[in-house]
Amino acid sequence: MILILGGFAQGKTEYAKKKYPERHIVDDYAQSFRKWLSDGTDPEREIAEILRKEPECVIISDEVSSGVIPMDKFEREYRERLGRSLVKLAAEAEHVERIFAGIGVALK
């Protein structure tokens, strides 16, 4: 699995499609994570299931954790849990890349 991180609108998806055309792409991980969490679905189990089916996939996620700790409990939990999930995915990934204005920087 390959993990791609970056801010909003940084060209992450285009980058991934161009660089890894043969791989299954799991886009908008941060948004999916939020939806699972608000639906009461366990996000960690969801992504584990996706990885079981598509172990060679490319996971694309926004970086959302660089703000003041939110007053809202759900928002706090979302950021914290997504962050921890990304730490885990990064540890398991073959490569981790961060996209800045369309340019990939290898983190791992």
Binding site: G7, V64, S65, S66, V68, I69, R76, R79, G83, V87
Partner: protein, 175 residues
């Protein structure tokens, strides 16, 4: 040696800073300078999580929610201090002690310089709260500026500056 570790929430910065502290300390004493106040359910569970992480790693915990100065006389020159974290310390001084931004800035930079002088190594955890695009109220915006300014000043003092992204260190300064 001063190491400044910066990351967002859930970035793995605590774990990385702890690992770096253990590396730097060798067989010498490790002091965990804790800044969080025990003021609510989430704080309690967060403190419990961090204590669990440090358990059996030989850290001695020192509570410093309102400043380091009083605790520095018991620090030895071979000790490695892990200070976690700068944003709590700044918020405690600003909002609980009602100090001005300038006073907080001066107090923290002075105390960190003093802590670095009397110890062997100082590892400081700080937060990246600068890029979420949210428009905050004036008070919060001033707090964000205060922390940004503190990070910049500490970068000047630090030998090593590292951002943690999904648990991965990205070095900006390394001596």
């Amino acid at each position: 040696m001063i190491v400044l570790v910066i990351g967002g929430s859930g970035s793995g910065k605590s774990e990385w800073a702890e690992k770096r502290t253990i590396e730097l300390s060798g067989n010498d004493r490790k002091l965990y300078f804790a800044t969080m106040q025990n003021d609510g359910e989430e704080a309690v569970s967060r403190i419990a999580r961090h204590r669990e992480m440090r358990k059996d790693k030989g850290f001695q915990t020192v509570e410093v929610p309102f400043g380091l100065k009083a605790q520095l006389k018991s620090v030895g020159d071979s000790d490695t201090i892990l200070l976690e974290d700068l944003s709590n310390l700044a918020a405690n001084l600003r909002f609980w002690k009602n100090m001005t931004e300038e006073e907080v800035n001066r107090k923290i930079t002075e105390e960190i310089s003093a802590a670095a002088k009397c110890s062997g190594n100082l590892v400081i955890v700080s937060n990246d709260i600068f890029r979420d695009g949210t428009e905050y109220d004036a008070e919060t915006a001033r707090y964000i500026s205060l922390l940004g300014r503190l990070n910049i000043e500490l970068v000047g003092l630090a030998n090593e500056v590292v951002e943690i992204v999904a648990g991965i260190p990205v070095f900006y300064k390394k001596s």
